[in-house]
């Protein structure tokens, strides 16, 4: 397994090195990209990025679940979740 982890800082560095934006504005630009994506998701809009994948909001109905440790039954309330489906291109890149 691989422990390397890509973060905001690495993305800002890539923008700084490749495109010549200052480190500070590169960091702000990265934030703008993810903030824009977040606000669309909060409006329950899907995001389709062909080279990467699709983010969708999925509604889950309330159901009765169990605490796996104690076995107690409990009500799991209805909720929304973000699902991600990798694009075909990304899946192929990862497996090549």
């Amino acid at each position: 397994m691989n422990d390397a982890n890509l973060t905001r800082k690495d993305l800002a560095r890539a923008i700084n090195e490749k495109l010549g934006f200052s480190k500070q504005s590169a960091g702000e630009l990265v934030d703008h990209v993810f903030d824009s994506m977040k606000s669309r998701l909060l409006e329950e809009e899907a995001i389709k990025l062909v080279q990467f994948g699709t983010f969708n909001i999925r509604k889950k109905n309330a159901r009765v679940g169990r605490n796996p440790r104690t076995g107690d039954t409990m009500e799991i309330c209805r909720r929304s979740m973000v699902s991600f489906k990798p694009s075909k291109g990304l899946r192929e890149r990862i497996n090549s």
């Binding site: 390397a4 890509l6 080279q51």
Partner: protein, 91 residues
């Protein structure tokens, strides 16, 4: 939202022309694809994280015909939504 809408949103938010917003978006997505392709994970605070999971080969079945088929080992990226975004989505 698709990529060109994301580029438009970035141009507006960052107060930059579209021709600059476009390579920025490509650089970010490209770096994310590269990271996952080399088996690295991604962690964007406030948004979420991606990890690549590896699966061993197994013998599966075509659910329609019942024919058994060999599924080769594979890797798949998984997304885990960040705590902050998860909570906001449920409000």
């Amino acid at each position: 939202m698709n990529k060109s809408q994301l580029i438009e949103a970035l141009a507006e938010e960052g107060n930059i022309p579209l021709r600059e917003a476009s390579p920025i978006t490509d650089t970010i997505l490209g770096a994310m694809v590269e990271a996952l392709a080399s088996g690295d994970s991604i962690e964007i605070r406030g948004f979420g994280s991606f990890v690549v999971k590896e699966y061993d080969a197994y013998t599966g079945r075509n659910p329609k015909t019942g024919a058994s088929i060999k599924v080769p080992p594979k890797k798949l990226p998984f997304f885990k939504v960040g705590k902050d975004l998860k909570e906001k989505i449920n409000k």
